[in-house]
């Protein structure tokens, strides 16, 4: 379980989080929906201790993240897979090296096993024989898939997706959404998806937290959103949010 309790965070003069509370339940896919640049991605980074809140607590598996030492944070991060908005592939490494990096560092696998794991991770994201390709040669959608393969290489317990469909055409975005659902079924992971794309949100999400002006204005199911009379929530349903 992951809990965020009374999270406050500001960057300079800008208050991005104003006392946020959130609970992420095991095996569910929770979608955090809101405008770009509002501070949703910061929440994901807080969960793995990349950013600390000004006040409030982040708890993962009953352990407080904000007070963890660096070693404790490293152990925590091994439980997570993180798909970054731009995939964040290491552009000086091949696709294969990107995926095997964490395996070589954090597992006892031999070379042959690592090769197998890399191929398996790539097959899960529907890619084959691109281990020797450099990331700069890949399309946006392929980069996201490789980023996903890298994130799942260590079979994480939790998956964090930062705007997984941003910048992709509709067809490729649908492919990524499908993958998110397949990975959830196959690996049984708990997922948090940050997006401003209501269509994607409804395809992958079990529960939804609508983030507006530093606060969650609604946390609930698809039906809760559809039945909401809150004008801010209605806005999300009636039109895709413009970035």
């Amino acid at each position: 379980m992951i809990y965020l309790k009374n999270i406050w965070k500001s960057f300079g003069e800008k208050q991005v989080h104003k006392g946020l509370n959130l609970e992420i339940r095991p095996k569910e896919t929770l979608v955090i929906l809101g405008r770009s640049g509002g501070g949703k991605s910061v929440l994901l980074k807080m969960i793995i201790g990349l950013i600390k809140p000004d006040s409030g607590t982040v708890t993962v598996d009953e352990k407080e993240v904000t007070t963890m030492s660096f070693k404790q944070l490293q152990r925590l991060r091994m439980k997570f897979g993180f798909l970054f908005q731009g995939a964040a592939l290491f552009d000086s490494m091949t696709v294969g090296e990107n995926i095997e990096l964490a395996l070589r560092r954090h597992s006892d696998f031999k070379d042959g096993d690592i090769q197998e794991r890399v191929e398996y991770a790539l097959s899960l994201v529907k890619l084959e024989n691109i281990e020797q390709v450099m990331p700069s040669s890949l399309s946006g959608g392929m980069k996201k898939r490789v980023g996903l393969a890298r994130a799942i290489a260590l079979t994480p317990k939790y998956m964090l997706y930062d705007e997984p469909t941003t910048g992709l055409d509709v067809e490729t975005a649908d492919g990524i959404n499908l993958l998110i659902n397949e990975l959830k079924t196959m690996l049984g992971v708990t997922s948090i998806v940050v997006t401003h794309d209501i269509h994607s949100a409804f395809v992958v999400g079990d529960r939804f937290a609508i983030f507006e002006d530093g606060q969650f204005i609604l946390i609930g199911t698809k039906d809760d959103i559809r039945n909401s009379t809150n004008p801010e929530v209605r806005k999300y349903i009636e039109s895709d949010i413009q970035t």
Binding site: K45, I48, L50, F70, Q74, R75, R77, M78, F80, F82, F84, Q85, G86, A88, L89, F90, D91, L101, A102, R105, H106, R150
Partner: protein, 267 residues
């Protein structure tokens, strides 16, 4: 508050507020730099786990810089020889040119000018590379994969700098002296034998060692500052450009200041 006092207050505020802010920013930045250096030293036992990265950086900093170091050193040696012979020709024996070139190159010119060239080449490359990694979230991705980005990215570059700068400067010394001999010969008509005689008479091993010691410090300061500047980039490609410029300016200044300090302490 009277109008006079208000104007005086506004004036003082306009003058002193930016100065105070600048001083605070400077010390804050210095503190962050030293906290990274401290982390690097504290976790240096992990360096062997990243030996492959150290080797890659040694190639990048060392091998890839050889052409420019040789080019610059050759001309530095030639210019020193030509100017020495121009200034001293009628006054002193010809062997002095060889002595002068050797001393100047070993003690000062090869280490300093090589370092200034490498501040541009190596420093700018490191900052641009790490800065781009920062703005494209590659450094965040490393941390998310439970890596220590300082041990993975900074330590190998600094170790490679400390190891490769002395080697580059030894190459620079040799080529600059050869260039000096060539320049003295073709422009000033000083026979190679006279040049070599002057070089032999003036050569002291400490001069070469001093240059190598300086190279170690220059290697450290250029790579560590470049890494720090790249690491703290924010604001996209504009931020990368600004950080790269800062690296070249700061490392060039740091090199000349350190050059003076080392000369004062060691000579």
């Amino acid at each position: 508050m009277t109008e006079h006092h208000r104007q005086k207050f506004t004036f003082l505020n306009t003058v002193f507020f930016p100065i105070g802010k600048g001083i605070i920013f400077f010390f804050e930045d210095l503190g962050k730099y030293f906290s990274i250096v401290w982390w690097m030293i504290f976790n240096s036992r992990n360096a062997k786990e990243y030996s492959r990265n150290i080797f890659q950086q040694m190639v990048m900093i060392g091998n890839n810089s050889i052409p420019i170091v040789l080019f610059v050193s050759t001309f530095v040696g030639m210019v020193t020889a030509v100017q020495s012979s121009y200034q001293l020709y009628d006054w002193i024996p010809r062997t002095v040119v060889g002595a002068l070139v050797t001393k100047s190159v070993l003690l000062e010119l090869a280490p300093l000018l090589t370092a200034l060239v490498l501040a541009g080449k190596v420093g700018a490359t490191i900052t641009a590379e790490l800065g781009t990694m920062r703005v494209t979230e590659q450094i965040d991705a490393l941390e998310a994969l439970a890596f220590d980005p300082i041990s993975f990215l900074i330590t190998p570059r600094v170790i490679a700098g400390i190891l490769m700068f002395p080697i580059l400067i030894v190459f620079g010394d040799l080529v600059a002296i050869l260039g000096g001999m060539f320049g003295a010969s073709i422009v000033a008509g000083i026979p190679n034998a006279s040049f070599i005689e002057g070089m032999k008479n003036s050569f002291e091993i400490w001069d070469a060692v001093f240059g190598i010691i300086k190279a170690v410090f220059f290697g450290y300061i250029i790579t560590s500052v470049a890494c720090y500047q790249g690491f703290k980039v924010h604001g996209g490609s504009e931020g990368v450009g600004k950080a790269t410029m800062n690296t070249v300016v700061i490392t060039s200044l740091a090199v000349v200041v350190m050059d003076f300090v080392l000369a004062s302490v060691l000579l």
